[in-house]
Amino acid sequence: MNPTLHAVLDFLQTWWAELTCGVVIVAVVPLVAGYLVLMERKLMADMQARLGPMRVGPHGLLQPIADAVKLLIKEDIIPGESDKLIFWLAPVISMTAALTSMGAIAFGPSFQVARDINIGILFVLGVSSLGFLGIILGGWASNSHYSIIGALRSTAQLVSYETAGGLAIISGLLLSGTLSISGIVTAQQTQRVWFIFLAPVGFFIYLVASIAETNRAPFDLPEAESELVAGYMTEYSGFRWALYFLGEYANMIVVGSVATTLFLGGWLRPFPNVRWLNWLDVLPALIIALIGVYSVYRAGKQPVKIQTQFMWGVALACFAVALIYAVPWFVGPLKFVIPGLNGAFWFLLKVAAYIYVFMWVRFTLPRYRFDQLMHLGWYILIPLAIVNVFAVGVAMLIAANTNWNHAVVLLLATIVTTIATLVCAVFLVSWHDRRTESASTASLARDSYAG
Amino acid sequence: MADESKPPQSPDSQKPESGTAPASPAAKTPATPAPPVAAKPAPPPPKPPAPVQIPLDNELTRRYREQFGAAILDALEDRKQAYLVIDAAQLKEIALYSRDFEKFDLLEDFTAVDWPRREKRFDLVAILYSFPHNTRLRLKIPVAENERPVSLVEVWPTADWLEREIYDMFGVEFSGHPGLKRILLPDGWQGHPLRKDYDILLQDNAWVRENLGIDSGQ
């Protein structure tokens, strides 16, 4: 056999799982992002007393596909005075960074591309933050005032909120004692508690910071529609615009995954160590089957025949997935896939819940002004995150130096330190309010980029 | 200053001091602006007694007359609404006096009317409102076509855009205005549309001739 072919085969044999996972990420994430948009629009419609997309497919289920087709066949406009190379490059960077960072995320005990990378969480953070380069360069290359202001805002926002988010993550890393993604999840299993209960303040700081990092309302200043038209995306159209858009939603999945991994127990089901709750393992199959049943129920109510058929299709797909989940329970040799499948289910459910919070916040809150955003980041979140790291450290020290049940002591110590942290937070907020109150005589904020 | 709300009064409570009946047809005053087409014969149906302009002589007008004498050309009342016809030369002094001493603190509106057949072609009309007294007063300032009345921006800042609009629509130029240029119409517009001799079709036809090569777009 020729050595090159041999090497290739060798390579495939070692890496086939990772390769498959990578291909799936690249192929499926855009689709998932499209359906996240649909989910967002549907949720928004529900909260705003209307129906949302209803025309393309039953309940608008085909809307993302129609949108994608529209964006693909749209004219690709490049402004005459723009920097062509960078204008072309920027959305690609944005999208690539988001997809690459997904490589290290463990979507279940066995679904992970870069499995033995022991700095997994740092890889995710570092690579996903490269997406901002795409935003900045795109804003600059468009040669438009709106774009450049959007890009400047995003840079300042990135620098401020990466810091807060990073410090918040440290509290989770302290508790797990490892940077490896699967290590973090295993730590939560062995310590018998999700880290959200041990570092609640850290979780909420990360929640806020991740909303800011993904440029979503109320922190969507780089693309604030009512102020900067579309910020750094103003001059983009068609597929380039779609790349940015997909990058943004892929980024939401990434931050959701990081939060899930660090604070929400990753792929673990609720109470993973409680024996008598083992029946929860059947839930994934059941829930998916129930969605199928609901689709059947809705199928009868569709006004047009083709929609009824489509609904039946959805139902059948659900049943098929449910079957995949259910079969291993009855076929002995396949039992080994159960943890993997269930893990993926729980993980994706948690990520979806996290993203739901993003959307909920977006429809409820008005947008921050830039200086207010900076103040929140620098005067409240970052100090609070530092205090929180100390608090978690103190709790861990207390737990390590007592002889009682480690988990219980840790939890008790956490309660105490969390209260202390919250007192700090109240103090910070009131101090900040007083400060702005006194500064508002001229009612003008300080230089916003200086924070 | 203006916080006190006045008790409800009848609309335009500028009541004449004198007890003259408002509907006396003989009360024509020499300075009454005669509308150019007023000579039209009255229509056959019996007209209600026409309330026309009657001379006004109350506390307020007396004070104005005392202060400015001949600059107050006339003081009239039309449908229970008072107005003073004043000399453009003293416009700023009268405006300042109205604002500071008569407490007409709001320039509610400032506009113009074109009377092409008159010697002084334009009537500038300033509608003043007094918050403390809850009264209105109109100042009419006749100006000739090439006259440059003084700008009121320093007295009432709100006059800025209103004077620009008058300039835009009538071509009256105000001296001392900080940035007198067209406001509603594009900078290159020809003519001043609210003048009576400005034909709506004029500009339209000119454009059509120039751009489409036909005589009329109508």
Binding site: P3, T4, A7, F11, D83, L85, I86, L89, D116, I117, N118, I119, L122, F123, L125, G126, V127, S129, L130, F132, L133, I136, L137, W140, A141, I148, A151, L152, T155, A156, L158, V159, E162, L179, D447, A450 | -
Partner: protein, 177 residues
């Protein structure tokens, strides 16, 4: 085999984009090529099983410093400023620097060839690929053997940060007055 392909790929990208970075007239283009260089170098770190260095390079240099570079370039219109800075003896300086660097590189190649088993074309890969994941070891040595230098470096950075804040404040004061 794969390792050498990857190595030459990364190394080639690093060298080429470094050259492009120097030759671009547009400051933003230079910044983009510098980013490419840094990323390629990070790739080489990863090949050497230095994951922590790899990610530190990405987070600190690409994600942090380069973003700020671009930020500054966008804010201060460097293109205009660069037109002002022009040497009269530019060509002379450039030639001198190139000559010195070239001599240095030549010397290295010349002497390296003489050493046994080494040289410009490394035939045997370094044993890095057999190393276990080593972020923890890095941390341990940083916080035990090299604690003092580490702390000194962090104090230095803190001083720089405080200095930057003070300078920014001063500038603001003069602006307001």
């Amino acid at each position: 085999m794969l390792d050498s392909v990857l190595f030459y790929f990364f190394a080639g990208v690093a060298v080429i984009s470094a050259a492009l970075m120097v030759t671009r007239r547009n400051a933003i283009h230079s910044a983009v090529f510098l980013i490419t260089t840094l990323l390629a170098t990070a790739g080489i770190f990863l090949q050497l099983r230095a994951e922590f260095l790899f990610i530190a390079q990405i987070i600190i240099y690409v994600g942090g410093i380069m973003v700020l570079f671009i930020f500054v370039i966008m804010l201060v219109r460097l293109d205009v400023a660069l037109h002002h800075i022009r040497f009269r003896m530019k060509n002379l300086v450039v030639t001198l620097v190139i000559a010195v660097l070239g001599a240095e590189a030549g010397a290295i190649i010349y002497y390296a060839r003489k050493l046994p088993g080494q040289g410009l074309f490394i035939e045997k890969m370094a044993p890095a690929q057999n190393l276990a994941p080593n972020s923890e070891k890095l941390a341990q040595s940083l916080f035990s053997n090299y604690l003092l230098p580490f702390e000194i470096a962090s104090v230095l950075l803190l001083v720089a940060m405080v200095g930057a804040v003070v300078m920014a404040k001063n500038k603001k004061g003069t602006e307001d007055s």
